[in-house]
């Protein structure tokens, strides 16, 4: 007769092997290497927690130092390939196969290792996709996670940066996998139970907090006047006419400028309460002035942001907080919220082609996707109406019967025609295609597909792609806002003028915006210190952002 409990029995064996190095659930830091060798098996599917923010850094380091003679061929399934150790495990032969989502700082090395055959790539996912696969065909056998503190029963407090932890534990522990957590301290009673102790098998006292990258902090001091102009265009030319209240912002300087213009320019336009009231968003420090001025009603967050914790606790009407007072973030829920409950995504990118496809990949870098494609895609499963969604749907298909017409999410790409180091934003062909060729990938890593993009904003104006009726119009609308880039200079002038007459392209002057008004004095905060002062001293900027 078939044994229906092999996974539970395997878990029992792992727990028994690990117990040699543990006292109760607690594993001493010194014993971590032997412990991991005891509980891991070659070929295991392992989730090492880490995303674009928090990192199970101590566990990553220990994993990278294992003897590949004993532990090898691991299949890593993890959100982020961010720490050097995340790739060291492949370099050393501890791991072989990789399914991931985001690789920001390791984007160059991962590209090199992929082409060198050091890594066998499953796929590059969005966060939600990878989480989804944890429950279908990429369920971890071992999860190595990070929390702030644990009690002796293994109950975990994950603090403001809860992020991926509940999802990873849910998929692993309830499918007879083993969960090992690194914590900064063992306490008698955790401030709140984010993860119940009976789902956690072992706890390692790392004696220091897990690493968190301040990825969402943008220094207002670095915002340019061109970015301010694009932000003015966005507010007056998009947020206002569509009445966008529920949205997600990317992490670039253009959207930081929008956040800092709300209490000044937005106020002047009389838009308070009419736009930007509900966000799926990490706690951007640049949103502090708008929150303080009463613009924002509610924000749900993927993670926290370094230095923002006291501010978030003190603004529980706006943020999601636990009974202990600190923020509770959750990446999976927030991604779902961004996909289904937001009417707009607006973010910047590195390359946009003539069909409106965009990518942050350049020939030698694979930065992954993270969550942007979940936010920046039209959710075809959506059924609830809202004014911006219906209006965008009508833009796209004016002749359809209203009762049968899908709404559309506003998916907006915003940037300057020439980006950092004067690299043009617009290209004839995405570098992603060349990279896909080179690495023999089935799919080019496209961040946002052209058919999801509704608008492109540059200092040259707004292109409303929903109003384009064929590919030619679409191409010329994109060229029409591409400024003096090669793509822009190759525009068909007559057609671009026709598109402008139809309102497909709207220049700053068409919206009554004088580019000379785009002045840094319009920003509600012009430095990190201003943000700290606006928060009443509650925001404590990390050292690398303090220019005082």
């Amino acid at each position: 007769m078939r044994n229906w409990s092999t996974q539970k029995e395997a878990l029992a064996l792992r727990r028994y092997a690990g117990q040699r190095y543990a006292c109760g659930k607690s594993v001493a830091l010194d014993d971590l290497p032997q412990f991991l060798e005891a509980v891991l098996r070659p070929g295991d599917r392992v989730c090492l927690e880490g995303d674009n923010q928090k990192q199970a850094d101590i566990l990553a380091k220990a994993l990278a130092n294992l003897d590949p003679g004993k532990i090898h061929d691991l299949h890593m399934v993890q959100s982020g390939v961010v720490l050097p150790e995340h790739l060291d495990v492949f370099e050393k032969g501890v791991a072989k196969r990789l399914d991931f989502s985001y690789s920001g700082p390791q984007s160059t090395r991962i590209a090199r290792m992929l082409s060198g055959g050091k890594i066998e790539l499953g796929a590059v996912h969005t966060y939600l996709e990878l989480f989804a696969r944890y429950f279908i065909d990429l369920t971890p056998q071992v999860a190595l996670i990070a929390a702030v503190s644990a009690d002796r029963d293994g109950n975990l407090y994950t603090g403001p940066n809860t992020e991926d932890t509940p999802t990873v534990v849910e998929a692993t522990s309830f499918k007879s996998g083993m969960v090992v957590a690194q914590v900064a301290e063992i306490v008698d009673k955790v401030p709140r139970v984010d993860i119940p102790g009976d789902l956690v098998h072992f706890v390692v006292d790392a004696k220091k907090p897990f690493y968190v990258e301040p990825l969402f902090t943008r220094d207002p001091g670095a915002i340019t006047e061109t970015q301010i102009l694009t932000a003015m265009l966005a507010i007056k030319g998009l947020y206002a006419p569509y009445g966008v209240r529920r949205l997600n912002h990317g992490i670039g300087f253009n959207t930081a400028a929008i956040e800092l213009l709300l209490p000044t320019y937005g106020e002047k336009l009389g838009l308070k309460g009419k736009i930007c009231t509900h966000f799926a968003l990490n706690p951007h420090p640049t949103l502090i002035p708008a929150i303080e001025a009463g613009w924002v009603e509610q924000i749900h967050s993927f993670g926290s942001e370094v230095g923002m914790d006291d501010y978030l606790s003190a603004r529980s009407d706006i943020f999601f907080t636990g009974p202990d007072g600190s923020l509770r973030s959750n990446r999976a829920y927030c991604q779902v919220a961004g996909l289904y409950a937001c009417d707009m995504f607006i973010g910047s990118t590195l390359q946009i082609d003539l069909q409106g496809h965009s990518s942050t990949v350049t020939t030698n870098r694979i930065a992954g996707f993270g969550g942007a494609p979940n936010m920046g895609s039209d959710s075809r499963g959506r059924r609830h109406p809202s004014e911006p969604w219906l209006k965008a749907g009508a833009d796209a298909d004016p002749n359809a019967a209203a009762g049968l017409r899908r709404g559309r999410k506003l998916v907006v790409q915003i940037g300057e025609t020439f980006g950092e180091k004067n690299v043009p934003l617009f290209v004839e062909q995405l570098d992603a295609l060349e990279l896909a060729d080179k690495l023999d990938l089935d799919l080019a890593p496209v961040m946002i597909y052209g058919d999801d993009v509704s608008h492109i904003i540059t200092e040259d104006g707004i292109a409303n792609l929903l109003l384009c009726r064929d590919n030619d119009e679409r191409e010329q609308a994109i060229r029409g806002v591409a400024g003096y880039t090669d793509v822009g200079r190759a525009r068909d002038r007559k057609m671009v003028e026709r598109l402008r007459a139809r309102g497909v392209i709207r220049r700053p002057e068409d919206l009554g915006i004088d580019p000379l008004d785009a002045d840094r004095r319009m920003l509600a905060a012009r430095s990190i210190k201003d943000l700290m002062l606006a928060s009443g001293g509650l925001y404590q900027p990390p050292s690398q952002f303090r220019n005082w």
Partner: protein
């Protein structure tokens, strides 16, 4: 919050316009003369018609004054051949005319693309500056721009009669990245901006006598400070140099082993030294009264 008239935020022309008596500024070799760098085109780099520095004359409370202002947003305010020659000329004119000079520093040092010409310019400027001072002319440096005052700029600043600095201002020969590259991240983490500021920033420079007056990040505050400093004498002779040499030797002896600016602030008797970076100007000046090191018209 950042002042409406922030010095840090303003460009060189805005600073000059707000610093001097309204409408009094007249430019020498203005952008209409297109006296551009002869080197940048070789590197396919954009030029600027004033080569990133404005020189001219005007009045301050009615008193005639010469002024030079670097534009930190053009090549980080770096010195090149034309840029440097304009400042040299201004300082020579100051000696001839016997008129005081304000130098609005905003520079990362010498342009790599015209390094030899730039280094020569620094030497010429220092010579012209010292000659002007020997002739009794005051030369005052104002530092609070985005690029700080680094490299050759800091050497020139070191020759000035007096320096006015704001919290945002930074003064150092080597920049943070240079130190990190040469000595390692353990010696100096250039990404730790709080460390950069408490090592090179305005407050620390003021406390150790590397600057003589501390101003709010506001053009009018700089103007007030300039008026006060210009009321001094700016004397430069052997006695001043000897006194300064002794002060620096003493300073090295006293603080040479300190690992962090906070150790120095503790040593000079500032209460709650870790709070210094966060303090507003009034409170900062109140807490440090009579505690700071003072320079002797040379540093």
């Amino acid at each position: 919050m950042t002042s409406e008239n922030s010095w840090y935020e303003a460009g060189a022309r805005q600073r000059v316009a707000a610093l001097l008596d309204p409408g009094s500024f007249a430019e020498f070799i203005g952008p209409e003369q297109r006296e551009i760098s002869p080197h940048l085109a070789i590197f396919d780099l954009p030029e600027q018609f004033d080569d990133g520095i404005i020189v001219g004359h005007g009045t301050l409370e009615g008193r005639r004054i010469l002024v030079a202002a670097q534009e930190g947003r053009f090549m980080g305010g770096a010195f090149g051949e034309v840029h440097g020659a304009k400042l040299t000329g201004l300082l020579r004119a100051a000696r001839t005319l016997g008129e005081p000079v304000l130098i609005l520093f905003d520079t990362g040092g010498v342009r790599l693309q015209e390094a030899n010409a730039g280094e020569l310019a620094i030497a010429e400027i220092m010579r012209a500056l010292v000659e002007a001072r020997m002739a009794g002319v005051q030369v005052v440096g104002l530092i609070g721009g985005r690029a700080g005052c680094y490299g050759g700029g800091s050497l020139i600043a070191g020759c000035c009669s007096a320096l006015i600095v704001s919290e945002q201002g930074r003064i150092s020969v080597s920049g943070p990245e240079v130190i990190e590259t040469n000595k390692g991240i353990e010696e100096f983490d250039s990404r730790d901006r709080a460390l950069v500021w408490r090592t090179m920033g305005g407050k620390h420079r003021y406390l150790i006598g590397g600057a003589d007056a501390f101003a709010d990040d506001d053009v009018l505050a700089f103007r007030e400070a300039a008026l006060i400093v210009l009321a001094g004498n700016g004397r430069l002779d052997a006695d001043v140099l000897e006194a300064e040499q002794q002060r620096l030797e003493h300073r090295l002896h006293r603080f040479g082993k300190a690992h962090d600016a906070i150790d120095i602030w503790t040593d000079i008797g500032v209460s709650e030294p870790t709070e210094i970076p966060g303090l507003a100007t009034d409170e900062f000046l109140r807490r440090t009264t009579n505690k700071r090191e003072t320079a002797n018209g040379a540093r």
